[in-house]
């Protein structure tokens, strides 16, 4: 094999490897964000109930809902903002309304701002864990059970939980 062919093959392999690397960036990105909690993606796993409560701190938690791409839902929250003690269990009720004449499936995707606060938000029960099938015109109440970690860093006094609501499929 000539010198040129050898080097050529190495460089082709390098190019293919870099193409694969572009796709490897996807899981790497998710793992990196998981470990560092940088992008505000909260855990979608069901949390254990907290045993300790920090009575000396108050954290403000705001709620936002946002329907994406003109999906035929109306999603509202009963309280736009609550003040909670770390470790204490809280319940917030959302209501969802299917505005269309068809059966629709709804998926809510949570995001927390500031991003670093995401790791301190523990959800014991959330409608975002599952998808909801809504019949034509149906109105349902959706429950969120959560607590804020007692380990939450002192500089976070206020955080916002935002739900983006997507229309998954039209259920025929």
């Amino acid at each position: 094999m000539s010198k040129n062919t050898k080097l050529f093959k190495k460089l082709v392999i390098a190019s293919v490897a870099m193409f694969a690397f572009a796709f490897a960036l996807v899981p790497l990105y998710n793992v990196f964000c998981d470990i560092t909690g940088l992008n505000g993606k909260p855990s979608l796993a069901r949390a254990e109930v907290s045993t300790a409560v920090d009575l000396n701190r108050q954290v403000g938690v705001g709620f936002l809902t946002h329907v994406q791409n003109g999906a035929p839902f109306e999603v509202t929250v009963d309280q736009a903002r609550v003040t909670v003690k770390p470790g204490e269990m809280n319940q917030v009720t959302f209501s969802a309304h299917n505005l269309s004449n068809e059966s629709r499936t709804m998926q809510a995707v949570p995001s927390i701002s500031p991003g670093l606060a995401a790791q301190y938000m523990h959800k014991v029960e959330c409608f975002c864990f599952t998808q909801q099938i809504l019949q034509p015109g149906e109105k349902v109440s959706l429950i969120l059970l959560f607590y804020i970690d007692t380990e939450i860093t002192p500089n976070i006094e206020e955080l916002t939980l935002s739900y983006t609501v997507f229309d998954i499929v039209t259920d025929n």
Partner: protein, 534 residues
Amino acid sequence: MTGAADNTQDSYPQATEQHEHHAPTGFKRWFFSTNHKDIGTLYLGFSLLMFLIGGAMAMLIRAELFQPGLQLMEPHFYNQMVTVHGLIMVFGAVMPAFVGLANWMIPLMIGAPDMALPRMNNWSFWILPFAFAMLLGSLFMEGGGPAFGWTFYAPLSTTYSNDNTAMFVFAVHIMGISSIMGAINVIVTIVNLRAPGMTWMKTPMFVWTWLITAFLLIAVMPVLAGAVTMVLTDKYFGTDFFNAVGGGDPVMFQHIFWFFGHPEVYIMILPAFGIISTIVPTFSRKKLFGYHSMVYATGSIAILSFVVWMHHMFTTGMPLAAELFFMYSTMLISVPTGVKIFNWVATMWRGAISFEVPMLFAIAFIVLFTIGGFSGLMLAITPADFQYHDTYFVVAHFHYVLVTGAVFSIMAGVYYWLPKWSGHMFDIRLAKTHFWLSLISVNILFFPMHFVGLAGMPRRIPDYALQFADFNAIISIGGFAFGLSQLLFVWVVLKCVRGGEKVPANVWQAAEGLEWDVPSPAPHHTFATPPVIK
């Protein structure tokens, strides 16, 4: 020499430089060519054509922005112009021009008979016209071409784009494959075909900068291919790489894109550094000051270019630590870049400088590229970036580094080597006119953009607030003047190719390098027997 080089040469006599040329003529000569000079010419001609097409789009953009309000076009068409102007200039004009210069000059500079992989060289050029035909063709289809900016951020390119996006994606794939093949060819040529005795530290600066550029290309062009592939599958095949509902993340698009995008900007400037490092010593009649530091600075810039990508994304929201890291790493790049600028100035210092046309462009490059570098430093300051982000200040910044940087260096290189390629001196009076017209108009065009940008004029919008009207009229006049001046460039080049005063082998007397040992015009085959470097 090595096997592949012998393959291209074994049917030709070794000794004479002026032997008869047996290759086919006309269309077949160019279509089947494996000759580095022919392919270099093809690349340069193609890049000039793309420069004019992309420039025509810029003229339309400036015509629309001449006055506030919507005069000439629909916003959707304006968006297509902005997008395709960017894509054409980056992938069609600047990059192929550098590849063309590499094809022409690297074998001549290192004393090689041709590129190491000549058949692949033919392929890497001839797939390009198809890529751009597809990209430009999409403009004429129902719904129009890409309109999401050359950065094709998701979800603009996925959820909100039209069905012609597939044509954009495949065009970028082909451009990427072409660039990667070109880069592989450059690396194999430089590593294997340097003349006996040409050690790494005797290799000309242009060759060095291209070697490093080629490694950058191999590292990031496949990542761009990956990014467009993800856009393709997200849009047409139901994947959710960038769609939050399926567990994806649109911000991840920006990470993947800028992981490609930042090294890409150095791909477009490192060969320019090589050209300037070649021209300045010739017309200063001194050796390049700090050759070794130039090599190390180029390498440092290349390595640093991989750890700064998030400075394009400061406003996406990131922790303080990341903001600080990317601010400082970005500023750190100004150190090796400063080394280069000071080395060029030191090369000129107390030199016997003469102001031939290539030198005029080189000096303009040094001054104006530095201005672009300074506005880059301003953008690197995270808190200030929140104000500058997506304004005309950014447009001013990257046009200073790409037009008065990359494009001026290409013109400097063309004026420097054109007599070697054609055997004729160009019309110096016309070329100087072209230089001065370009220099003045390009500053009228881009300098006021700093001010409207700082005052808050957003980029990529066909209309603007009334207080920006006067400056935009001035900018547009500068734009038309700069655009028209380039027609003069086309004329100077054509006139020089057709005829003119004959030039000797060493056109610029004081020029050093193997390319000046071969006759002018450079014969079809050179260095069939490698020269020995002492």
